[in-house]
């Protein structure tokens, strides 16, 4: 029973970190990437409607730990007292900046809340990272199950141990770097997907109009052409991404700093997977639009959800944590999810063709 609950709690934490980690990443690089207020609003819009959903996982995680492992909660929350309140205040500030920033259409108002958003996200990534560092190292529990440590120390390699010392802060900076790198790759991935999205819109319109004309053969033809076009465009963009990964990352960061170099190195590694990922995700977009053109939107939703949540999340956990591939493993999982989605959607379309034929003939 305890093992079961341990798995439930770990699962909730992982889901939260995967979902919100991307938000941290996007938040940290927010300023570096989005130059104009319009672009910044777009980045926020990608997070905005979903952030409270992501927060639900954190609240659920906290509540479940409280119910199932009260002693863990008691020791950890009291021991990490100041660090936890800083996390809490950052979460509050981030929530306010997302909710309030878009409320008034004014440059200064939005600029200020963008600033709050970036600072809160950066601090959150570092503090969560420091918590991971403390957990990896372990804390000195007294016999009554409590522990107490200084919040920060003199930052010497052999100095006192504290919640924020040279060890935990370097773990934390690594966490911030990794999340920022994920954020950069996601951003370019989105831009790279512009071409397949254009193709998909055209395909959807074409399929819907052919459905109206009851021309199944032409429909099949149109689907094949848009898949090939989407594939070619995606491969071309993918090749560009791999070849130009270094300069793309630098372009995104635009200022070179010490941490900048580390971000570049990590992000370049992710870009190689990203090229494959975006090939599949481009095809998913095209296929999904085609099925939507056939008014099959519900099936698309369920299939894609199954792939993302089942295959994607499961695969990411398996590769990243069980097989120990780290950040690369998460990208592998995501790629696998897209590949599965393409196959399932394509199968659904080809199996629908005979049925379409008979039903159209019957009319």
């Amino acid at each position: 029973m305890i093992t079961f609950w341990y798995c439930v709690v770990s699962f909730m934490l992982i889901v939260y970190i995967v979902l919100d980690g991307r938000n941290f990443g996007a938040g940290i690089i927010h300023w570096l990437v989005a130059k104009t207020p319009e672009e910044r609003r777009q980045v926020i819009a990608a997070i905005g409607p979903l952030w409270s959903w992501h927060e639900v996982w954190l609240v659920g995680f906290g509540g479940t730990v409280f119910a199932v492992f009260p002693k863990l909660l008691a020791s950890a929350f009291a021991g990490y007292y100041l660090a936890l309140f800083l996390i809490l205040w950052c979460l509050i500030l981030r929530g306010i900046s997302l909710e309030v920033g878009g409320h008034i259409n004014d440059r200064m108002w939005q600029g200020f809340w963008d600033f709050v958003f970036v600072i809160a996200n950066t601090l959150l990534a570092i503090l969560f990272g420091a918590a991971a560092g403390n957990m990896a190292r372990g804390v000195p529990l007294a016999s009554d199950g409590t522990f107490s440590m200084a919040f920060f120390t003199d930052f010497t390699p052999r100095g006192y141990v504290g919640l924020l010392d040279w060890y935990t802060v370097s773990v934390a900076l690594f966490a911030a770097v990794a999340l920022a790198a994920h954020g950069i790759v996601m951003l370019w991935l989105n831009i790279a997907l512009m071409v397949p999205i254009g193709i998909s819109q055209a395909a959807m319109a074409r399929v819907a109009s052919l459905l109206g004309q009851r021309d199944v053969d032409a429909m099949r033809h149109a689907v094949l052409i848009s898949l090939v076009a989407g594939g070619v465009a995606s491969i071309a963009v993918g090749a560009l991404l791999v070849l130009g990964s270094d300069s793309l990352v630098r372009l995104t960061l635009w200022s070179r700093s010490a941490t900048g170099d580390e971000v570049v190195e990590t992000a370049c590694g992710f870009f190689r997977f990203c090229a494959v990922t975006q090939l599949f995700s481009g095809l998913v977009i095209v296929m999904a639009s085609i099925l939507r053109g056939l008014r099959d939107a519900n099936a698309v939703l369920w299939l894609v959800m199954l792939c993302y949540w089942g295959v994607g999340l499961g695969g990411a956990v398996l590769f990243a944590f069980v097989l120990g591939l780290g950040g690369t493993g998460i990208w592998l999982g995501i790629t696998l999810a897209f590949a599965f989605a393409v196959v399932l959607l394509a199968v659904r379309f080809w199996r629908a063709i005979p049925r379409l034929r008979t039903s159209l003939a019957a009319e």
Binding site: L88, L91, I92, T146
Partner: protein, 460 residues
């Protein structure tokens, strides 16, 4: 409250009290407004009259702002069980954690999923589903309230638990725990009080528009609904829910009832003090004016009933701040009686069709809305001060529950941080709410600029 400033329990209590009083300013309005939204949406569905939809659109925005602030101020409450009350969590987390987790998983989930649909989804959902969204939001907010009140009821009157091998508490019967009679009575009392807050706020906005000569159709709608619901709710808060609440306190926390009423000596034919100051040092109520036999009757059903006095209990089981408890309780009852009177007059005028022309009454209604917030706060202070010196009544003392490893300095630091953060949050909330009220219910607002982009939908 034991105000020894070097006592760590004092600072943790002070911080919890401050953050929860502030937090509860927001949910009490969302729970109260939930009923209005469902009612107006239902009227709109039945009559097709656009004014009801306008009212829903306007109040859903106010609801959304309150909900957002309620969420961000609610998360610290869950945190503080671990940070400041870790010994309590270690002892009772296996029980109270259950309902807190359920609140997050079911009720908060439901509410946060449908608030967006209620505010932005009217066109996409169509009237029928939009009505269902309003119901889901109202049910979610009330369900949230119930889970929190079950948690509180366990601290007031523990049931359904067992003591484990290491002395910590666990659930023996989940249904007994969830169906705690204390929780039902307190829930009914509390929800009616939330409805009073909602009614007063709705009526106050109506009065504001009426006095300004703005949005006259909407003003009339708010005044009618606000005063009528306000009268019913104000009455139900007192009877039967408040009455039952006092009776259950008398049954399970007799010493608390004695302290609430300033009864130092027990006896039959106990009176209710209309006026009087508790004098702890001399152990008596100074210059009281009493209604003889009223307390015996109210608490136990007959005038002859014996009411226990504080002198029958050891002093270390007395609530530790009897003055504050006594005044909170009495002020709450005074305010509650004024609410009934005010709303009765306003409903009468509204029924005669004279409310919108009686300026003096509109002024009173407009300025009265803060008082239900005060009365709600006083009610909770009565409940929680009355529970002292216990954290879980009769089982676990407050002095055992705070985090031993957290120093006073840490707690004072975070308390000051909360005061600062909440001050800014309050300013923002008032500014944004004021904007919505100034904007008014009748103009169309711009479409929301944030929608999930195709990109965001595809990439995870």
């Amino acid at each position: 409250m034991n105000s020894n400033l070097s006592d760590p329990a004092f600072w943790s209590r002070f911080q919890f009290a401050f953050t929860i009083v502030y937090h509860y300013l927001f949910p009490q309005l969302t729970m109260g407004l939930g009923g209005f939204l469902v009612y107006w949406k239902w009227r709109a569905l039945r009559s097709g009259d656009e004014k009801y939809n306008q009212a829903v659109r306007f109040w859903a925005k106010i609801f959304g702002l309150n909900f957002a602030v309620g969420v961000v101020t609610g998360i610290p409450m869950e945190f503080q069980f671990g940070t400041n009350w870790s010994e309590f969590s270690r002892h009772a987390g296996g029980v109270i954690g259950q309902t807190l987790a359920m609140e997050g998983m079911f009720a908060f989930f439901l509410e946060s999923a449908f608030v967006g649909a209620l505010i932005w989804g009217e066109k996409r959902l169509g009237p029928r589903y939009h009505f269902l969204a309003a119901i889901a939001v109202a049910v979610g907010s009330w369900l949230s309230g119930y889970f929190i009140l079950v948690t509180n009821a366990f601290m007031q009157h523990p049931v359904g638990y067992q003591v484990g091998g290491d002395g910590s508490l666990g659930i023996a019967s989940l249904s007994t725990y969830l169906l705690n009679p204390w929780a039902w009575i307190q829930f009914a009392h509390n929800q009616m009080a939330a409805l009073v807050t909602g009614s007063f706020v709705v009526a106050a906005v109506g009065a504001f528009y009426a006095l300004r000569g703005l949005h006259s159709t909407q003003a009339k709608l708010y005044l009618r609904a606000g005063t009528f619901a306000g009268l019913i709710a104000s009455f139900l808060v007192a009877f039967p829910t408040g009455d039952q609440q006092a009776k259950i306190v008398g049954r399970h926390q007799a010493v608390t009832l004695a302290a609430m009423e300033g009864k130092f000596k027990g006896g039959p034919m106990a009176g209710v003090a209309m006026i009087g100051q508790p004098n702890i040092a001399a152990k008596r109520l100074d210059n009281p004016i009493e209604v003889p036999g009223a307390l015996s009757f109210l608490a136990y059903g007959t005038f002859e009933s014996y009411v226990h006095g504080l002198d029958e209990y050891p002093e270390d089981t007395w609530p530790d701040n009897i003055e504050l408890l006594y005044y909170s309780f009495h002020l709450m009852i005074t305010l509650g009686s004024i609410f009934i009177a005010l709303m009765a007059v306003a409903t009468f005028q509204s029924w005669r069709g004279r409310l919108q022309s009686s300026n003096w009454l509109l002024w009173i209604l407009m300025l009265a809305f803060p008082f239900p917030y005060i009365a709600n706060t006083l009610g909770w202070m009565t409940a929680e001060l009355g529970r002292q010196p216990w954290l879980i009544y009769g089982l676990f003392r407050t002095s055992e529950g705070y985090s031993k490893v957290v120093s006073n300095g840490d707690t004072i630091f975070t308390l000051i941080g909360f005061i600062g953060l909440y001050f800014v949050l309050g300013l923002l909330f008032l500014y944004l709410t004021g904007r919505e009220i100034a904007h008014g219910p009748e103009k169309e607002t711009d479409e929301p600029q944030t929608t999930v982009s195709t990109l965001g939908e595809v990439t995870l």
